[in-house]
């Protein structure tokens, strides 16, 4: 596998991501991800974006969709498998949707992993961008016939380096260009 540092030029946006203000909602229902999601939200807010942060979301997809849409976002970013499930099932691409699993399927038990890949194949139609943490995650997803548009951003380091923050922001600012909208 090629490491991230060996990717020649994987530019995502033709202009710096904070050139234009973006209204974005970051959501997670996974307590372990709250710190990283908060740091991403703060980074983007400090650079002029209008960022709303949801650290818990309703358990029903329709209610989750209402909560995610309430701030009027241009992009919704769902962190972790639970937010990814409820958010995508509820929104179904009514708003450009970025999914960041943070390695959720790597960490799942085998039986959950199989069900997870089956769900991801279905959810690909409601995923404008999938942020994979490394090439291996893309490889695994493609091996399971998940045809979401992928962007690789390493979000494992704490605190998150500026380069990863910028790359994630570039992907978020371009989410509307991928997948589909209804």
């Amino acid at each position: 596998m090629t490491g991230l540092d060996q990717l020649p030029d994987a530019r995502i946006s033709g202009i710096p991501p904070f050139t234009v203000g973006v209204r974005v909602v970051h959501a997670t229902a996974t307590p372990a991800l709250r710190d990283i999601v908060r740091s991403v939200a703060e980074y983007q807010r400090d650079r002029g974006w209008q960022v709303d942060l949801l650290t818990s979301i309703p358990d029903r997809p329709d209610a989750a969709a209402s909560a995610l849409r309430a701030p009027g976002p241009q992009v919704v970013v769902l962190h972790g498998s639970r937010a990814g499930l409820l958010g995508r099932l509820g929104l179904r691409c009514a708003v450009p949707t970025v999914y960041v699993p943070h390695g959720a399927l790597h960490q799942a038990r085998p039986v959950h992993r199989r069900a997870g890949w089956t769900w991801e194949r279905l959810a690909a139609r409601w995923t404008n961008l999938w942020i994979a943490r490394d090439p291996d995650e893309v490889h695994q997803a493609m091996r399971h016939a998940v045809l979401s548009p992928f962007v690789i951003v390493d979000l494992r380091e704490t605190p998150l380096p500026g380069a990863s923050q910028e790359r994630l922001a570039a992907a978020v600012s371009r989410a509307h260009a991928f997948g589909r909208l209804r």
Partner: protein
């Protein structure tokens, strides 16, 4: 199609190459004229484009598949499954995966698998831009050592043909948008902002030019001559002389596409000295460089302001030095060099 024709013509000019083409019976005369020999034109009989693609991937329906070649170059997303020789694939974009819902149901279901398998199989991947290579490597990071960036060039016909005025636009101030009406070209974005602009420039016209979209795909197209909103004109297909006139006489060329593999209209607009405004798509920003204005399509006000400047004659034209001098011979030379390097690496291993 234009890529295939221009690249074949340029490759055929290279003395060291013996170029053959696999085509449909209807194009036999065209390819025979281009290559100067009917023996180098191989035919494939199939009733539909879908059947042709399937047979091409299976490597049947033409005796050419049974022969041994130094190189087989796939110019339209596919390579035959079994090849006697090296293979190269032109990677125009990753849109069959990145935006597969832009395609009709048949293409959406049938193209991604064979396309991805063709990519994985190719010895040489010829990407239209660094941005396209970036998209390719997002799916196949392990293929970096088989990947080259070989951009296309402006059509030789467009550069040499005489201007042919378009009567609907003569004497009018207009912004030009070139491309098919597929959703990713983002025509709807321009149509939605145009009434705001018409408040400041009541006579201004937004002219759409381009071929029809893919069969069965969702589009944003109107009948030719119809104005979907006042001041928006659908011209449909125009010939190269008319296209040249449009580029040369437009107040600006608008390229709001959401996702491109290269973005030829942005380069063509610059080649004719017209201000170009593109979206933040990285391929178009790369192709048109600092000579064009790049704006996010999330920022509607900036687009309105830029068109206002252009229609008022205040948006500066690109400088002479900004115009790309790249030719199709350069593209052919770069592609040939990439294949030679791949062959050297293969020999070493």
């Amino acid at each position: 199609m234009r890529y295939t024709v221009e690249l074949t013509r340029a490759l055929n000019r290279r003395a060291e190459l013996d170029v053959h083409v696999l085509g449909v019976p209807e194009a036999r005369g065209f390819w025979t004229d281009l290559l100067g020999s009917s023996e180098r034109v191989h035919l494939m009989r199939a009733r539909s484009a879908a059947a042709r693609s399937a047979l091409e991937r299976l490597g049947t329906a033409s005796s050419a598949f049974d022969r041994s070649w130094d190189l087989v170059l796939g110019t339209k997303h596919l390579l035959p499954r079994r090849i006697h020789g090296m293979s190269a694939l032109a990677v125009h974009d990753m849109i069959p995966i990145d935006r597969r819902w832009d395609f009709g149901a048949a293409k959406r279901l049938l193209l991604p698998g064979p396309y991805l398998r063709s990519i994985a199989q190719a010895d040489v991947l010829l990407n239209m831009s660094q941005a396209t290579e970036g998209r390719l490597l997002s799916y196949f990071p392990q293929l970096a050592d088989r990947s080259w960036v070989v951009p296309p060039a402006v059509s030789t016909g467009l550069l040499s043909v005489p201007d042919e005025p378009v009567s609907d636009l003569v004497g009018r101030r207009f912004v030009l948008a070139v491309g098919d009406p597929s959703v990713r070209k983002n025509r709807a974005f321009l149509v939605e902002l145009w009434p705001t602009l018409r408040e400041r420039h009541p006579e201004a016209v937004l002219a759409f030019v381009g071929p029809p979209g893919w069969s069965g795909a969702p589009t944003t197209a109107w009948a030719e001559g119809v104005e979907p909103v006042p001041g928006v004109l659908e011209l449909g297909y125009v010939n190269e002389g008319q296209l040249r006139w449009c580029y040369a006489n437009a107040a600006a060329v608008a390229c709001p596409a959401l996702l491109e593999g290269y973005g030829l209209p942005s380069v063509e607009g610059l080649a004719f000295g017209t201000p170009v405004i593109t979206s933040d798509d990285p391929a178009m920003c790369e192709a048109s460089g600092g000579s064009a204005l790049h704006l996010s399509t999330l920022d509607v006000a900036s687009w309105v302001s830029a068109f206002d400047e252009a229609l008022s004659g205040r948006l500066p034209a690109p400088s002479i030095g900004a115009v790309s001098t790249r030719t199709w011979d350069d593209t052919a030379a770069d592609a040939t060099a990439a294949v030679s390097e791949a062959r050297r690496r293969r020999a070493r291993t």
